[in-house]
């Protein structure tokens, strides 16, 4: 019995014609998977969205249970999925009873993975569930936290962690269980570049130290690619589309994968986007006209102000002009989103002011956007939130697009015409009657932009528009934004996506990272 001192060893995977259908869905989430992963192998799992990558990981983690009867479990299974010769589900149960996990799963959303209020308790949670003796728990918690270079003590409150720190804490919780198979489901999709880099380094260190098997799902491959020795591509229609060493798979399928939205190194969409900011042949209408201006602006989020924390951005002077893009860059916690929300008239300035240009404010009582009524705001400044789900207000895609223009008082016939046009333009016709919450990430992003554009605002403010998006959506967004700029709109894009700023930006405002209170970070929408 070495389970309390040593690592139990890497796990091998064998899938035979495996498939899973969720009880709530008609279509199979994944089907016909034949896959062998040797102990210690590191596999990158690719596939377009909807090809069942996350379902396969959940299956490997032993979390999918068809149950006994028809209504018993959470879905229907076919074929087999074995870990070291034992069904994954059984392996999980035995592992919990035996005190050492076989698999460890790290998910995408940092905020939703923290279980407890104190960092140490959160790491200990899995050990408690595996009935590890109390005397062994704290040494293993501390070792796991050291293993991911976690910068805080065990008593540190989890609600003060940034997204990147949360992911590392979740990773510590996973490795404390010494799993022989590490399952990573887009672990860096919601992290900024420094957070991603740190996480990648920690994962590499853990794999090197333990020799565990690893199955990784990621869209943005840069950096992760060096960690894996094999790439497996799931086919959307079932089965495996490609399988082999990264170099071979990318040489043979790179272009096809990129066209399917995967961020394949060497096939990034900006390579086709032409030179950054080609000057338009004709000047955009109203070129350079001042639309919005911040003067000596100090801004904070209401929640932050209530908590007695200092403002995140101070002393900002910036102008949004027609036919120009302003890119606001900076890492998480530097106040990019706060600045954007204040420019967009959603948050009230703490000091200084935001004023609209005479044309934008025409017919209104006040030049300050935060004083405008919602229906006045919607046709003048459009805001695209980082998480599209936050701005969904209707039950169908078509109705969602109609909300803005209707609120702005556009006649019904015109509203319909705008909806039709945007459905086509944003490739959303096939889901026009669907509930917005059921759309894929890329579709939701396109919908959120369409819904804002429908009210024809002169100024467009976008908060991390490319966050977590696949390469195809990225490309489509960039094309659209360039078109809007050429048509005389003013665009503000808050982003830590440097290539986006590269292809858009006339003006770049870089917010510093040396903020006194960097730890605190708001939900993924509004990274302070």
């Amino acid at each position: 019995m070495t389970r309390s001192s040593g690592w139990p060893g890497a796990v091998g995977v064998a899938a035979r014609g495996w498939g899973w259908r969720y009880a709530t869905r008609r279509a199979w989430a994944v089907r016909g998977v034949d896959l062998d992963v040797a102990p210690g192998e590191r596999v990158l799992l690719l596939g377009s969205s909807g090809s069942g990558k996350s379902t396969l990981l959940a299956g490997l983690a032993g979390l999918l249970d068809p149950g006994e009867g028809a209504d018993d479990g959470t879905g229907e299974e076919e074929g087999s999925l074995h870990l070291d010769g034992v069904p994954a589900r059984v392996a999980r149960r035995r592992a919990v009873a035996g005190g050492a996990a076989r698999t460890g799963l790290l998910l995408q959303d940092p905020l939703a993975q923290t279980v407890l209020a104190r960092c140490g308790d959160d790491v200990a949670f899995g050990l408690e569930n595996h009935a590890v003796p109390t005397v062994e728990i704290w040494p293993r918690v501390e070792a796991a936290m050291r293993g991911v270079a976690f910068p805080y003590p065990t008593a540190h409150p989890t609600d003060q962690l940034s997204g990147g720190e949360r992911q590392r804490l979740a990773l510590a919780g996973v490795i404390a269980l010494r799993p022989g198979l590490l399952l990573l489901d887009e672990p860096s999709a919601m992290l900024d570049e420094p957070g991603t880099r740190m996480l990648r380094e920690q994962v590499a260190a853990v794999l090197a130290a333990t020799g565990a098997t690893c199955v990784l799902v990621e869209h943005r491959l840069a950096g992760w690619i060096d960690l894996v020795d094999r790439v497996v591509v799931l086919d959307r229609t079932g089965g495996i589309a490609a399988d082999g060493p990264p170099v071979t798979v990318f040489a043979a399928h790179g272009a096809a994968l990129a066209a399917g939205g995967v961020w394949v190194p060497g096939h990034e969409p900006w390579r086709g986007a032409g030179p950054p900011r080609t000057p338009p042949a004709t000047a955009p209408p109203g070129d350079g006209e001042m639309l919005l201006q911040a003067r000596g602006l100090t801004a904070t989020r209401r929640a932050r102000a209530r908590a007695g924390l200092p403002p995140v951005v101070a002393g900002i002077d910036v102008t949004v002009a027609a036919g120009r893009a302003l890119c606001v860059l900076g890492d998480n916690g530097t106040g990019k989103s706060t600045l954007a929300l204040t420019l967009a008239g959603l948050e009230r300035p703490v000091a200084g002011e935001v004023v609209a240009g005479p044309r934008l404010a025409a017919g209104l009582r006040s030049p300050s956007p935060h004083r405008w009524r919602p229906r006045e705001l919607v046709s003048r400044i459009g805001t695209v939130f980082q998480d599209p789900e936050h701005q969904i207000v209707a039950t169908t895609v078509a109705a969602e697009i109609a909300v803005g223009p209707r609120r702005a008082g556009v006649p019904a016939a015109d509203v319909e015409a705008r909806v039709e046009e945007l459905l086509g333009r944003m490739r959303l016709e096939h889901v026009a009657r669907a509930n917005p919450f059921t759309l894929s990430g890329g579709e939701q992003r396109r919908l959120s932009v369409a819904a804002v554009l429908a009210a024809r605002p002169r100024v467009l403010v976008l908060d991390e528009p490319t966050f977590g998006q696949d390469a195809r959506t990225w490309d489509a967004l960039v094309a659209l934004l360039r078109e809007l700029i050429a048509a005389g709109h003013g665009v503000v894009a808050v982003t830590h996506d440097a290539p986006l700023a590269g292809v858009l930006g006339d003006a770049v405002l870089r917010l510093g990272s040396e903020h006194p209170d960097r730890g605190r970070e708001e939900p993924r929408v509004g990274a302070a």
């Binding site: 999980r92 919990v96 939703a112 279980v115 209020a117 009935a131 409150p157 989020r301 209401r302 948050e347």
Partner: protein, 249 residues
């Protein structure tokens, strides 16, 4: 290990340090005594004995005022209401006010000095409540903080979409929509959290160990005993003064 508590709370104070179950017992004993009779002497004695014990509870006057002003306002309003519209008897009014305060004060102290994690540990280990429910509820309380941030963002997002404003009816409709949106977000987050918990072995076995053992100490008996003393002394005082009447009969 009391990172979740506010400033103004001294977690090392005698009663604050007690096992949450002991603090619960105090509240329960006093509540039973207060339910049995509604009279100014019983309620007043209980309140007096509680106030006497406050210095050992670790709450600064400011922290206490901040947490109990709602109860204070409610107690006074109920007292004034009784005096004006009820029996008109000032004694009954005093009884109502003192009773509300006597019942809420132990609750205020419990909530202010107890970390939710410690409470859950005590409920599951000392009282042996089913740990699955206790831990699921604990995880949900943490999610509440996340949801309050989401609520603020949803408000901004709706304004950006042109919703809100325009009359009380419009505002009500907008609020309902915002609540609905929050529910959707909450279910999403809860689903991911449940997956993350299960992936770390939660709910797979009936046996589990505890990283933070929650045990009863002699000092917990002192705290719980004081609660019982308050209940008994208050009742005795009421009986002695002849004001004590069993409400249930």
């Amino acid at each position: 290990m009391t990172g979740a508590l506010d400033r103004g709370v001294d977690a090392a104070a005698y009663a604050a340090r007690a096992n949450p179950v002991a603090k619960l017992a105090v509240g329960l004993s006093i509540a039973v005594a207060m339910v049995l009779s509604l009279d100014p002497v019983t309620a007043g004695t209980a309140l007096l004995l509680e106030v006497v014990a406050l210095p050992w509870c670790g709450l600064s006057p400011v922290a206490l005022a901040r947490r109990s002003w709602v109860a204070l306002v409610a107690a006074l309003a109920a007292g004034v209401g009784t005096a004006l519209f009820g029996s008109g008897d000032p004694q009954a009014a005093a009884a109502v006010t003192a009773r509300i305060l006597a019942v809420t004060l132990p609750g205020v102290v419990l909530l202010a000095t107890t970390d939710p994690t410690d409470l859950a540990d005590a409920l599951a280990q000392v009282l042996r409540l089913p740990h699955r429910f206790v831990l699921a509820a604990l995880a949900a309380t943490r999610l509440l903080g996340v949801l309050s941030d989401e609520w603020a963002v949803l408000g901004l997002a709706r304004r950006a979409r042109g919703l809100g404003g325009g009359g009380p009816l419009g505002r009500l409709r907008d609020h309902l929509g915002r609540i609905l949106a929050l529910l959707v977000v909450a279910v999403r987050r809860a689903t991911v959290l449940a997956t993350a918990m299960e992936a770390r072995g939660f709910g797979a076995a009936t046996r589990r160990t505890w990283a933070r053992p929650s045990r009863l100490h002699p000092s917990d008996a002192v705290v719980a005993g004081y609660g019982l003393l308050v209940a008994v002394a208050a009742t005795a005082a009421g009986v002695a003064a002849g004001t004590w009447h069993l409400v249930l009969t």
